[in-house]
Symmetry: C2
């Protein structure tokens, strides 16, 4: 690459972009780790985008109508941090840049959305940002349909690398975006031909342009180091009625000795290489030093949107009171006050007329009460609408032609669904929920984990939550998945036992601010177990005494979801034999763990044997069975220590010991 030619062709542009490159070199050298090559390759694109097209105001990084910039190739985090610092972020200061990748800094190895405004999402696991961006773009369309283009009208810009595009999730994301004609989504493909193992040609020969075009995208190729060509491509992308992909031909680690090599992907820390590269750039400033004129120019870029934002504030103020309050409330992520009343009303009705019902059906019943009063809910399913019971009559379908619908047919794309829901939640103003089978948690795991890490209150509706789904067999029967969600930090797993617990779980899920919820719901009908109305949300305690021992308490049977009624049946048998048995319903271990110790001890006192019952693996249960510090109770667990089998559900429950009689025997064996 002829750097001198680049410099002389666009000297001003060159120095501005070189600031990104130099800061990257300095930060990576100081940290002695990181990824230099991508920011060095994509600095020109980022400079043109930020200075000529992106709508933002560095003084108000939380402006709801700002453009969103998604760094899907998250390892190139210094690109983002440099942009934020240069344009005047109050949070990503020069000190933060100096502390790149150090404990407590806001400049983590990969961008973390919760560390500073302007970091729109957490990326690094490849393809996630791209799929998040589809959710951002859906959120924008949905909110625009609701509040009008004067209030919501912005673009979602993505930088994605070869890694993002090789990950399967990118296919799900791009086909979904193409289908929905998300025209305000623009993806810059950092087409540098290099991955960690070597040239892309080592592992792929895909024509990415043809691939995107095959799913209804507007595609362009551009010299990623020519600012005018980049600008023209962005203008064309904005005009296209389709989502747009711009393949930017770039040189990874531009201008360094590692240019166009796999080495250039990683940390360029050799002092001589850094010095030589800066010399090639004509960058004669010290480490972390940006000349005043360049910094001034970038800060002007950061202020470019101030006027537009002020005008927007006026337009928002001019909105009718109802709409404005709704907008503010939704952006704040607060549930409407009437949610609690609606849930209580539903619970009361359920207590008065208890009926056998699958909890997935119970979930639908709750949604039917909730969706009409929460305009922010946005439902969907990965092609299992009738099985997940996620669609209620009032939602309408969100399509390419109708953005007013609040239900999305995600197609057979569990991963993109989860990642897009993350994007909607991150965008703000939306409460996404989406369904698939619990076993297919696996397909969406990378995004579900990120919902937890990113502190986003997405709701994953996971039906068919055990062998109770029956004949579809072990491929579809989760056994380890409850444990998987429980093992994941900052995640609430709810496994409600009946309609009332399902309503309480939904109320909690819809009022969470900073963590996702997973609802584990049955395919099969289960009897009501909460027969008395309580205004209080008992699921909020995580576990509670559902039925007290009648005879002297000798045993506690703890169960969740579809096994709670089995525990009650066991109790009935045991009491008949004089064995006083308490039944504890434990719909959410995480919330129970958050209760104070005295409550936990009230629910699970010593002096009685304990048996857990759940049609899943034991892992996660021992804390409650054996006692939190050990030496507390003799215990056993009725669960699954193998994969399931294909047979009718009732046959499986009998075979694997999930009956009142079998559980009672296990209790007696401990006495």
């Amino acid at each position: 690459m002829d750097i001198a030619a680049l410099r002389s062709a666009h000297p001003d542009h060159w120095r501005r972009a070189a600031a990104i490159r130099a800061l990257t070199l300095d930060a990576v050298a100081a940290a002695n780790s990181g990824h230099s090559g991508m920011p060095m390759g994509m600095a020109d694109v980022a400079t043109v985008l930020a200075s000529r097209h992106m709508k933002f105001d560095a003084a108000a990084p939380d402006w709801p109508d700002r453009d969103r910039f998604i760094l899907s190739a998250g390892h190139g985090s210094m690109l983002l941090y440099a942009l934020l610092y240069l344009t005047g972020s109050a949070e990503i200061t020069l000190d933060e840049i100096r502390n790149f990748r150090q404990l407590g800094s806001k400049t983590a190895g990969h961008p973390e959305n919760f560390l500073a405004q302007g970091i729109e999402t957490t990326t690094g696991p490849l393809g996630q940002g791209f799929a998040n961006a589809v959710g951002f773009a859906i959120a924008e369309e949905s909110l625009r349909a609701r509040f009008g283009p004067k209030i919501v009208d912005h673009h979602t810009w993505v930088i994605a690398g070869d890694g993002c595009l090789m990950e399967g999730v990118s296919q799900e994301a791009l086909t979904l975006a193409g289908h929905l004609k998300l025209s305000k989504l623009v993806v810059f493909f950092d087409d540098n031909g290099i991955t960690i193992d070597g040239p892309v040609s080592l592992a792929d020969r895909t024509d990415q342009m043809a691939r995107f075009a095959a799913s209804g995208w507007h595609v362009q190729t551009v010299d990623g180091h020519d600012p005018e060509a980049i600008d023209a491509a962005i203008r064309a992308a904005k005009e296209s009625p389709l989502p747009s992909m711009i393949a930017c031909k770039t040189h990874i680690a531009l201008g360094s000795a590692a240019q166009d090599t796999a080495k250039g992907h990683g940390a360029l820390t050799d002092p001589q290489l850094v010095a030589d590269t800066k010399a090639a750039y004509g960058w004669e400033h010290g480490p972390f030093e940006v000349p005043a004129d360049v910094k001034d120019w970038w800060e002007q870029v950061g202020r470019r949107g101030a006027e537009a934002r002020a005008a927007w504030e006026s337009r928002l103020a001019a909105l009718g009171k109802g709409k404005r309050e709704e907008f503010d409330r939704r952006i704040a992520g607060e549930a409407p006050k009437k949610l609690g009343g609606a849930i209580r009303k539903l619970k009361k009705a359920a207590a008065e007329a208890p009926e056998k019902m699958a909890t997935r059906k119970a979930s639908e019943t709750v949604l039917a009460a909730v969706n009409p009063i929460l305009p922010e809910t946005f439902g969907g399913s990965a092609d299992l609408t009738g099985s997940n019971n996620t669609r209620t009559g009032d939602l309408g379908v969100f399509t390419a032609d109708d953005r007013s619908g609040r239900y999305l047919h995600y197609g057979i794309r569990e991963h993109a669904m989860a990642a897009a829901m993350n994007g909607m939640a991150l965008h703000g103003g939306m409460r996404p929920y989406g369904g698939t089978f619990m076993a297919f948690t696996d397909y969406a795991r990378p995004a579900i984990r990120l919902a937890a890490l990113m502190q986003q209150p997405v709701v994953f509706v996971m039906t068919h939550d055990s062998i109770g789904l029956g004949e579809d067999g072990p491929t579809h029967q989760p056994v380890e998945h409850l444990a998987i969600h429980r093992a994941t930090p900052n995640t609430l797993l709810f496994r409600p036992a009946d309609l009332i617990e399902t309503a309480e779980a939904w109320e909690l899920a819809l009022t969470q601010g900073d963590r996702p919820s997973v609802l584990a719901l049955t395919r099969q009908g289960v009897p009501a177990v909460r027969l008395k109305h309580s205004a209080q949300n008992l699921v909020a305690r995580g576990a509670y005494v559902l039925a007290e021992a009648e005879a002297k308490r000798q045993a506690i049977v703890i169960a969740s979801g579809s096994e709670v009624h089995v525990a009650l049946a066991a109790k009935e048998r045991l009491e008949a034999e004089g064995v006083g048995t308490r039944v504890v319903s434990m719909p959410c271990m995480e919330l129970f763990a958050e209760q104070d110790e005295s409550y936990r001890r009230r629910v699970l006192p010593g002096g009685a044997v304990r048996v857990g019952v759940e049609a899943g693996v034991r892992q996660g249960w021992d804390r409650w069975l054996l006692g939190e510090r050990g030496r507390e109770a003799k215990a056993d667990f009725v669960g699954m220590d193998r994969f399931g089998a294909s047979a009718p559900a009732e046959v499986l429950f009998e075979t694997f010991g999930f009956t009142g009689a079998a559980v009672a025997e296990r209790v007696k064996a401990l006495l």
Copy 2:
């Protein structure tokens, strides 16, 4: 659809294919569940494929050189069962068809490879079969390169539906196959335009032909109900030097009232509908009844390959002794006898010259000793070769032009890598292992779970197994993933502490017959902890006493992997204060759980407090800490109850309490 026209155009073909359709209707009706539409739609393709092209011998369903038939759209399992029954399978009998989806039958809701020969893989989770098939085709090429085309020369045929093609894993699989020019892989796309939620157009507008062509596939469209057109397309596919996709335009639930509808995807059980459909087919036979002439014809199809197989047996017999023994041994899945000696030799050398080493590097050291003596190993990495340390010098790279290499650059395709490895293992003759970062377990979870369910001894090499990876931060730092693998049935998770334990873990992984292994390996260097040579494989016991208490035993510290040396450091401090402390290394909880109780009690006796140390979540540990039945020990755990952070590894270990001093304090707090 004009069924009468189809019938009269090819009357013989029609009746043969109708047998598949009728058996499907009968089995689904008897089970009152299942998926009728796909077998009814694809019966013509299956009939032409099986009778005119597939190389197999029903009398020898385990013939190593048979063609492989992969039903990726596994919900259409009756298509496969009908084919097996009709062609004369000794296992899939008419009784089994009658017992479709019942407990203990071989005809599970979705095909399960371990239930009967001829079921080549377990499908149902969509896209998996397709990605498995890429592995089957790689195995065929690799074995052909080794043993020659007289011994190995067969096709891999796949039926995939819209669901398979919408799943992201299909993109990873097809781009990998296109890159590798796997010309003997042929995918029939059941292009019926219907998914569970409704028409495909509800969620997708992808031009699948263009998409496959963009990645180097040969593509064709064909009327999926015209036997001659199907035949011609298959012939063209066989001639192409590229992998081939044939989009078969079919009608789901052909000829029924539910044809071309989402309802037709599921179980058609209405007696009137079944009767009307059979009438339209001109099928005048009772339930489960196949007229003798049709059954005879199908059984001839089942015998078509007998002669070819006999000729093949002669060619195999004529192979040189060395090659033949290797072929037989590899097909039997047996490790060579010299493996044990090589591992012992390596262990002895390691004990004599202990050194600080990352266990990922230890793994490379083991592979360097193992790969030259195990020609069946086939390594790879999802674009992290230098980080996963999976490539050894002797392997060579498997490419489109050179099939003799035994190392594959999978690209950034964790999911397809895992699924392709499953396919290689299922094919037989191969011992695949492949690497990525432990946190990216999530990307491959659906396939890793299936390795366990399918009982395949694949080895997943998961490096960077904790916060010890440092600056890349929480997106890359597993905390819940050890628990996830441990929660999965039939899976061995090894977390070795040093080179010797790594060698033992590899020995176990390479000698497993029916379960996968996951190796959790460090990025960071760790000191050797096994300083004395033992010929015995101690990791085989799952946990063992690494260092006995010197003073009177008051505490047991249990640790795995990179925390074992921390446990030893804690012991040193505690002993200095007179607190006798045993250190137990626990590299594999699953194997420890399989030991007899007396061994387990010897390793973890009562009468001492217990502290577990592992840089992951506590889930899974309580059984060993609290005592298997409770009431055994006071216990604590030093681990992670949150996501990690971006900082140098040593800072993180200090921050989160993984130091000898901090662990010693936790022990003392219990005394």
